[in-house]
Amino acid sequence: MAPATAFSLPSSQNITRVVLPNGITVLVFQMPHLQSVALAGSLNAGAVFEPNDRNGLASMTAAALMRGTQTQDFAAIHSALEDVGADLGYGTGFSTVAYGGKSLAEDLPLLLAQLSDTLRHPVFPDEQVENLRGQRVTELRYAEQDIRTRAERAFRRTLYPSEHVYHRSPYGSLAGLADLTADDLRAFHAQHYGPQGMNVAIVGAVTPERAIDLVSQHLGDWTNPSQPGLPDVQPVTPPAEPRRVHVSIAGKEQTAIVMGTIGPSTTAPDFQATRIANSILGEFGMMGRIGQIVREEMGLAYYAYSQLEGGRGPGAWSIAAGVAPDDVHTAIDAALNEVHRIVNEPVDREDLEDNLAYFTGRLPLRLESASGIASQLIIIERFNLGLDYIANYRDMLYRITLEDVQAAARKYLDPHRFVIATAGPDNGETS
């Protein structure tokens, strides 16, 4: 017999969760067989807090946190981390700024010290902000020729009204970056960075006591009375009529298609049933029904799948494919046909059972790495899913019925209110 494995799923029995007096939630899961630790977390300072005409303010602020603090310059911050093979980085979403890090177990104190210093004491040096802006302008101008980026952007702009945060990219735009100053970043930081709503997950070769002690030591006395809470989610409905948008980019070989509508938020009661419906439509068994027809049978595309954004949202439920310009209409029709099918025809029991097995069976794989578990703990905390979410995951999914799946597809997927965005050569699209 093989020796017993040391693995057990994260649950309320082995996750340690503590809320510090200043509001920071700390989650720790110990994996003694590792030599490293992973850090993940988020705080409420995402793009939803930036004015519509300052797109990129939240993202630039987060990116500039590591450009200099009251006691460390750019080189000192990065030397401290890189000298020991540790890593720390911030990224900006619609609602939150997410951070992630990794180090050898012995360097966790250093990692948390850097997290604390860059979160609490950044100074946004003028020349560093300029340097960062230059990098972003280069990246954004490069993205101008990328058909997937352009189709996705056109899809989002058409699906969500201009006042909704999902109308724009949290990364920012060339127009939004143009006149941002270091003072703008300082002001945004002063108002929005603080412990309320912040969470930290630490997973790996560390005891819960030690991890919590370190977080308390570095972040326990952080306060910010001016920090606002997350604004309420703005209600949004898809356009009343189907919308078709094309971005014409000369010199391209392919056309990118992004089409879909608004899906449920992660906290919606039918979110899990919708995940199953999405998987049947465009994920399970090499990209679901859409992959089967568009890629496998028609040979039109290398990629053709559907995805559910979720989040606080409500995020989009979309289908993406890259095809030759002459095949755009064929591919769109084939995808729409699958949308009609999943809305109008009951899903087979076998489809449901396959997908339930798929969702539950892959859990151990997703939880194999420390960073995978840390990210999962943050999702559990952010969306208030409960510490036994993973342990109860199987039972929760197996309560979903065929009717639930079809009801979810019917509720969200109205092809008559779809937005269809394409980007690629003109090819008569705009005539």
């Binding site: 093989a2 020796p3 040391a6 693995f7 590792l34 030599q35 490293s36 080189a75 990065h78 890189e82 000298d83 020991v84 093979g85 540790a86 890593d87 990794k102 050898l104 340097n131 230059g134 990246e139 101008r141 490069y142 101008e144 020729q145 058909i147 352009r150 058409t158 189907p242 078709r244 948008v245 094309h246 971005v247 980019i249 000369a250 010199g251 391209k252 070989e253 392919q254 399970f284 068994g285 090499m286 089967q292 496998e296 028609m298 040979g299 039109l300 290398y302 990629y303 030759a324 209409h329 069976g361 892959r362 859990l363 151990p364 794989l365 194999e368 790495s369 420390a370 699209e429 705009t430």
Partner: protein, 434 residues
Amino acid sequence: MIETQFAPTTTHHLDNGLTVILREVHSVPVISFWLAYRVGSRNERSGQTGISHWLEHMLFKGTERYPAGVLDKLIDRVGGEWNAFTSMDYTMYYETLPADRIDLALDLESDRMVNASLDPEDVESERTVVISERRDNEDSPTFWLNEELRAAAFRVHGYHHTVIGDMTDLYSMSRDDLIRHYRAHYRPSNAVIIAVGDFDTQQMFSKIERYFGGLPADPAPQLFTRPEPEPQGERRIVVERPGHTAFVRVAYRMPAATDPDWFKLVMLDSILTGPGGNIDNKTSRLYRALVAPGIAASIAGSLQESIDPYLYSIGATVSDGRSPQDAEAAILTEIERIQNDGITQSELDKARKQARASFAYETERVTNQAYWLAQSAMLGEPEWFDRFIDRVSQVTVEDVQHVARRLLIPRRRVIGWLLPTGLQADTETDLEEV
């Protein structure tokens, strides 16, 4: 302190020539099973470029026992992860599954090693999928730069073409070509199995014998390769594509990954462009010389492990408003600095620690451990990855300077620029209802 001792690893050989490498890891109830074939784009002849990659796609089209579509569902149903990839040197297939479902991987891989249907209709529909994949690549300006760069670096050797192949060959190759390639290379004597995970070695080996032992004992194929002559001088290429952004590549001919110099080059690359993986590169010499002063928006190094001598490539994304000349000059200046002045002991110590940390992150997942064992087996040194940390620990500051002096010289390099030709004013148009 980093442990670099892995769980005991055993190597076995079946009578039909199949090599089996097994490593027990009991941290999670998962097994990663890999089947690696010693054939990649380096073994492809002119007119057949991309055939290894296309054949890899065809193996997902099924066999008589496991028809197309059934395999995907079988894997997904047990919550597994599977994929395959073709490189310059090899073609690998893998399944990472819950430990109690691993028979599925053994069954399907032993079946498709010899029984792939290669149905004529599937061949044609997959031809257009691969063409679509290449077109997706072509929409990235840097794909053209990288393709031209390797074509300039290799006139004779199979490394001169990309893994996906030339478009003209994707249109002209036939099903018969695929069948010939399959029958010549997919056989036990040209393959290595690697399994890492939650199993008992003896039981796993018995299973492998049961599934693979009866496959034909054909001799190992003669692999097509043509050695590249020594370069006789610097080569330069310029690619023009629509867009706004310029890119620079400076690529040097390198020794094979099993050459003792390789590990010195790993340290040199780490100091010049950063360690890669999960670790940032903002303290690397080239970040400080190019990105910090705003000449480039990003820099990266690529030292790819290869069976035959390939390239060490340094790439820079030129900042908006700056010139490729500036970026190239800054890269060359930094290389000359190392050649003339060497590196410091603290730089080397940092690179070593980064390598050890990367190693710890990289080996967290059994899938990654199995990948690196497979990669090592393909390089012909099964212990290549396991000894990685030992070998980089032996590198000295003098080694790094010497290797820079000997190998990073103009005669061994290709310099490539991607010059953007701008974008016509693009339009976003609302169309009528479809």
